[in-house]
Symmetry: C2
């Protein structure tokens, strides 16, 4: 039994047992149309009887293609990513690819290492919300086909979730509700999305005559949101736009703990719609598209793998405000 578990049946054994050449066995699996139907049947029958299973590794070494891709994310546990991962998986499966998942823990160095470690066994990689520098990203991209999610590096195919539009809508929404002072609670500084959101909030606020101040957090966590609350309150703001839903949720909790009721006394809007309608009260947020991003990214990667030249592909995904119950007229 341990013998069966070890190694396994090889193509040669099948070939001998079937009385054909090794190449025929190989062809029976990869190019059946090149063999007579009877031969194929015969070979497959013998193979099955022997319990033959093609060795993926050997095939990969020979062909140079391993049928794997890597997906690297900053934090699997951040609810923004699971839908993305799920969709990417599904799309990969359509092309019969397996996916390595890498978790960088929001750390640029770790991301770098993962890229190095994984890239030797995949055909391409999709890098989601990288915290790495443009230089390093370019370096890796020059060695392996790569597509980026939520990072705008020219020359590398990328899918961008344009949360700028959604955040602008959110800001306008708050303005219309009569808010005058609002705060943007910032996320990771290396995050493209964060820069984009902050810029959109600032621009719109200025255009509308709102006062906007920014509070910084490095990691987008519930905790970070919670801790931002005293600072938010001290600025006499009546509404906050958070980098993402998780932080928004933390802000909600912090507000509740201080007896500030939402949305009566204070309005908050999140980003990504990662928590969906799971909460009570239901969070006003900016739509996410993370699943779509996951899907599109691997589909782009597929194209990249086939045509090599994909040009300077940049796929934009629209977002918009989803007004639910954490925003209302300014107190």
């Amino acid at each position: 039994m341990p013998a069966e578990r070890k190694g396994g049946v090889t193509i040669s054994q099948v070939a001998e047992a079937a009385g054909v050449a090794r190449s025929s066995v190989s062809r029976a699996y990869t190019k059946p149309h090149m063999l007579s139907p009877e031969t194929v049947d015969h070979i497959k029958a013998v193979a099955k009887r022997l319990g033959y299973v093609p060795n993926h590794t050997a095939r990969a070494l020979s062909t140079g293609r391993n049928g794997n891709i890597a997906l690297i994310v900053p934090d699997v546990a951040n609810p923004f990513f699971p839908p993305l991962i799920r969709a990417a998986q599904a799309e990969a499966e359509r092309s019969d690819l397996c996916v390595f998942l890498g978790n960088s823990e929001e750390d640029a160095e770790k991301e770098d290492k993962l890229l190095g470690r994984l890239s030797s066994q995949v055909e391409g990689v999709v890098l989601a919300s990288p915290r790495l520098s443009d230089e390093r990203i370019l370096a890796h991209a020059s060695r392996k086909p790569m597509v980026l999610i939520n990072r705008n590096v020219e020359g590398i195919p990328r899918v961008l979730i344009d949360s700028g539009t959604g955040v602008a809508e959110a800001t306008r929404h708050l303005a219309e509700l009569g808010h005058k002072r609002i705060v943007y609670v910032s996320g990771p500084s290396a995050s493209w999305s964060n820069k984009q959101r902050r810029a959109a909030a600032r621009k719109t606020a200025t255009a509308l005559g709102l006062e906007l101040s920014v509070i910084s957090a490095s990691v987008p966590s519930f905790e970070a949101g919670l801790q931002a609350v005293p600072s938010i309150l001290s600025r006499k703001a009546t509404a906050a736009i958070a980098f993402d839903d998780v932080m928004a949720q933390g802000i909600l909790a912090g507000l509740a703990a201080r007896g500030v009721s939402v949305p009566a006394d204070f309005s908050v809007v999140g980003c990504d719609d990662a928590l969906g309608a799971l909460m009570v009260p239901v969070l006003t947020t900016v739509s996410g598209q993370s699943a779509e991003a996951g899907k599109v990214s691997v589909s782009l990667l597929m194209q990249l793998l086939q045509s090599d030249a994909l040009g300077d592909a940049c796929y934009m995904l629209e977002t918009h405000l989803i007004a639910r119950s954490t925003t209302s007229a300014a107190p």
Copy 2:
């Protein structure tokens, strides 16, 4: 440039450039102690200059070990799993393993396929909350080292989160609060955890003289929880224990929509503590341990890979009630 991207530097090129044999280059990486320090330095220097990176696939073919493991879960997007995945990753990394992630979409057949597809390129697999039959699991386990999470199949190393104790505590908690009629909102029928939780609820309820009825749902989703609400209410129950936090959240939402206030009019408790304290009101739940399970499972797998015989390992993780704010005295 595309030339650089193709293939890559091989051991032979390094050997030639360094004026040594291929085997020496190999040894410089895998058995440095067999070479003189100077030779190692020299080789590594040349290798670095050339941008040499050992080819994982070739090495795997030669050694028979690929340094990969597979982790298969029913649903990445279910908040129970991300922490598990994260912890498993981290533990795998400690042993310098890469992990393939498989998502079965709560579907037994898909799980079966994934297992087949992945097992040819990994050294072992950890199967979390499988929906597959014991037979199929055993079949796969006989071909590849495997450890199970939340599934009790004798002979296969497994880590079990004993939510029975926690659910019993929860039931007792409700009894003490004066609830007389409670309902257990069931999860996937193929889930070991579900059976265990239901059994614990039933047993404790009986012992305490509570009336317990069970409502079935096949997929543990927010939606499923939401849809269970009419049925729950029709049974005149005053409290519900849900298979997991996500369903509990759905129930909360359904209750809110019908104007039933929690915990004043109705109490609900979840399971897994997957949502942590992210919600308002904060969910009373049974602790989860999913991260610990992820960690322990790959650590067990490591042992299994080394010693082959691991005996009938069965690692139990304790759980207990976390009383927060969705439970209170019966109305």
